[in-house]
Point group: C2
Chain length 186, copies 2
């Protein structure tokens, strides 16, 4: 579908505010009505982009190889999280921020998006089975903690709210490692 591709381009190249239906329709030589018959409106279009964003995201996270050191695997997943987000930052803000007021993903696409989180929980489970992490805490909780650190740091970075002059990449890695250490058996 040309409309969806162009919408992704507009979003990536010029940001959410450039994604107007008239602009989008003109770019692919059609009319705004097409968006309504094919998707159902702008929220539905955003929903499709949301879905596409999580698809790419999940693809990249799933490509992180599985070693016999699950904690190190988590670190690599986290680093991949950041790289993916920065690579598709306009998609990222659609997925994790409120660029369009009142936009909420369909529960259907939301559930599909939640699948992105599964590999993290599985890796945490391996770390627990491994004895690296204490079994006191549910793997979902530990996974959520690591997920939140990634999300928090990356969104602060994308929005430019981080202290200036800070070399973010190494700080990100050390932070993730420190947080993982917090769950470690000792």
């Amino acid at each position: 579908m040309k409309l969806l591709n162009r919408a992704g381009e507009l979003l990536s190249n010029e940001g959410p505010s450039a994604l107007s239906l008239r602009r989008l329709a003109a770019d692919v030589n059609t009319s705004t009505t097409a968006v309504y018959s094919l998707f159902g409106g702008k929220p539905a279009l955003l929903d499709a982009l949301y879905d596409e964003g999580f698809r790419r995201f999940g693809e990249r996270l799933a490509m992180v190889p599985e070693t016999d050191d699950p904690v190190e695997d988590l670190i690599q997943i986290a680093l991949t999280y950041r790289e993916s987000a920065l690579q598709d930052r306009q998609f990222y803000v659609v997925m994790f921020s409120k660029v369009v007021p009142d936009f909420m993903p369909t529960t259907e696409t939301y559930i599909a998006a939640s699948g992105t989180f599964v590999p993290v929980v599985k890796t945490v489970q391996r770390a627990i089975d491994n004895g690296s992490f204490l079994p006191d805490e549910a793997p979902e909780v530990i996974g959520l903690a690591l997920w939140s650190i990634c999300h928090g740091l990356v969104s602060l970075e994308i929005y430019g709210i981080l202290p200036p002059g800070l070399e973010i990449a190494p700080v990100f890695e050390r932070t993730v490692r420190a947080s993982a250490d917090g769950w470690r058996a000792r």
Copy 2:
């Protein structure tokens, strides 16, 4: 200024999309031009709200008492962070998310907002001096890590992206404690 108060109310009660200049002007029996002569436009109004939001935020964080256990103080700051954000969640999304496309705070108000972060760094410094945290890492980095965890978890919570049926408050606290433990001397 009645305009700013009403803007805050609209933002808090009905969300960012209800904050239109005509609506706002009508609610205080004036005209949209007032916003332009008094503030300079909608971005400038948002800037004022941004400032107000960080002022409240910083006030609450500064109210956390200082004990002789700086690590515990950090935990309390984090819990206060979450409570404050949830209490003024509409302000929070203006401060930390992109509810209005292309809105960026003035560097002036941005610097003022950065002051909110100072108590965190100071408390981390006390924890390092105390011997609770290793001196290997700059206090800004540790502070940023804790700050990011708060931001990440809270924004996921506000946007409803968290796993349903999850009791968030205790998870939040355990997560923050685990992350603080990650920096601990051992």
